[in-house]
């Protein structure tokens, strides 16, 4: 049914739940599995150092996320192609899904306050609206 599943993992509990389920689906369906993680850099920074500092923090974080994700995939017997990009989470994930013509996007659910959801909307919510393929939100 699927040729390529993309799982978005921000290193949160929800992100790893999404990865675990994506691994299970990929194994059963015999599908390729990609993982994308997005480093978020400060918007409109005042100094280059601010950017470098944020980038260094994100690199450390996602170095550990990649190692943990590869370990989970290995234990589940799935080959995982993982990639880290920098930018805005929603647009970067949607661009990745479009570029790789993925059939299914799996994302974790992260609860925000009612006010945040009303004003800004959750990442998963916006991915459901903007992704060009079916989206599975894992709780």
């Amino acid at each position: 049914m699927f040729k390529l599943i993309v799982v978005a993992n921000d290193g949160s509990v929800g992100g790893f739940k999404a990865l675990a389920l994506a691994c299970d689906i990929a194994k059963r369906a015999g599908t390729a599995l990609h993982m994308i993680s997005v480093e978020v850099l400060p918007n409109m920074p005042a100094s280059i150092d601010e950017v470098i500092e944020a980038k260094t923090d994100e690199n450390h974080k996602f170095h550990d996320v990649l190692a943990k994700a590869r370990d989970i995939a290995k234990k589940k017997g799935v080959k995982l192609d993982a990639e880290v990009v920098a930018g805005h989470a929603v647009s970067a994930i949607v661009a990745y899904v479009k570029a790789h013509k993925a059939d299914l996007l799996v994302v974790g659910f992260m609860g925000h306050s009612a006010l945040y959801e009303r004003i800004i909307g959750g990442t998963a919510d916006r991915l459901v609206r903007l992704a060009p393929c079916p989206v599975l939100v894992v709780k």
Partner: protein, 379 residues
């Protein structure tokens, strides 16, 4: 209660802390949040400026400018001298002239006020450009390096204009220029020698040595009617190669600056925004933003064609170079502090500067991202 300096300090630091937390939460520049917090605080609760707040804010502006100068990658500038000098100079000159003439002839502002408008809106935010280039991976390409070098040249133009336009042309100005040139020429050798001699110590003799030079030349600049940020940027540029070799010292200075000094500068900059002037001046803000972007386009876009950027990269470069924040705010605040512009004009100019940090970035990211967008990151 605001006569009590500790309560006043607590209020300003509370706003700075709230700004830092919001900045971390929504990944937006702490400087931008501090300006907004300052604007809210200034208009809702009132944030009277005392001499010591003005001192800390001024100190913050000097350090901020010094650190911006220290970020200049001279090797990149030298390697791409023709393109970066051409794009950078035009990127400064056309908005400077365009916005100055718009203020003078469309709005009827007197020349000194029009000069402040031109200088404030001539800037390019190197940090905004750099952040976007890291995201796209452009910072590793030749195109990205040319853009970055051009941004440094634009900032240099802005700082030189701010330092020279309002200076009194006397023999003392020549003496100041000579002293600055001597220090700038000697520092690349004397600085690293002194840093190696004293080493890293808790008493921070390295930082005290740099502050001594910054304050002395800043004092000299102020005495001749120039601006302390001019020598600060040049000294930063002179030490940039040494700092790139050993980034620990500028990092410690940044920690000091961003922890206790720049919050006072950005909060003060925001607190002087007048809400009613903001509403009344919405049209002027749009005019200045439009003029800044239009003149950047007229100047930079043809040059990107000349230097054989493809169409999309040319548009992207032009939009990124239309951004501005730190030097724009420093220039506008300089105008207000020295009674060249009034608070309404300051509100219009600072808000136009803030808009120029946001609007061109959003347009560039949404419609003109080059094909190498969202480059794979090495972690």
């Amino acid at each position: 209660m605001m006569d009590n300096i500790w309560f006043t300090s607590a209020l300003w630091i509370a706003l700075a802390l709230a700004s830092a937390l919001i900045s971390i939460r929504i990944a937006l520049s702490v400087a931008l949040i501090e300006i907004m917090m300052g604007a809210l605080g200034g208009n809702i609760i009132g944030m009277p400026l005392t001499p010591w707040i003005n001192y800390l804010a001024g100190f913050g502006a000097i350090l901020l400018t010094f650190l911006a100068g220290a970020e200049v990658d001279m090797a990149v500038v030298r390697r791409n001298l023709g393109a970066s000098l051409g794009i950078g100079f035009v990127s400064f000159l056309l908005p400077y002239i365009g916005c100055m003439l718009a203020a003078r002839y469309l709005l009827g502002w007197p020349w000194p006020q029009a000069q402040i408008a031109g200088i404030s809106l001539s800037t390019t935010s190197v940090a905004v450009v750099y952040a976007v280039m890291v995201e796209t991976g452009l910072n590793k390409t030749e195109l990205g390096k040319i853009i970055l070098a051009a941004c440094f040249i634009t900032d240099l133009g802005t700082v030189l204009a701010l330092g020279i336009v309002f200076a009194s042309f006397t023999i003392w100005l020549l003496a100041f220029a000579a002293a600055t040139i001597v220090v700038v020429m000697m520092l690349p050798k004397v600085g690293p020698w002194f840093f190696a001699l004293v080493g890293q110590r808790v008493s921070e003799p390295e930082i005290k040595f740099l502050l001594l030079i910054l304050f002395a030349l800043g004092g000299f600049a102020t005495a001749v009617g120039s601006e302390a940020v001019l020598p600060a940027y040049l000294i930063g540029m002179a030490l940039a190669p040494a700092f790139q070799h050993d980034p620990e010292l500028p990092h410690r200075m940044r920690v000091i600056a961003f922890a206790v000094l720049t919050p006072f500068y950005f909060l003060k900059a925001g607190s002087l925004i007048e809400a009613k002037a903001l509403i009344a001046g919405a049209g002027l803000i749009a005019l200045f933003l439009g003029m800044k972007m239009a003149t950047k386009f007229v100047g930079i876009l043809p040059l990107t064609r000349y230097y054989r950027f493809d169409k999309r990269e040319g548009m992207y470069t032009t939009l990124l170079m239309s951004t501005g924040l730190t030097f724009g705010s420093i220039s506008a605040l300089y105008g207000l502090t020295n009674h060249i512009i009034d608070q309404e004009q300051y509100t219009v100019l600072l808000t136009s500067v803030i808009a120029s940090a946001v609007v061109p970035t959003v347009i560039a990211q949404t419609w003109f991202l080059p094909k190498i967008a969202s480059a794979k990151q090495e972690v």
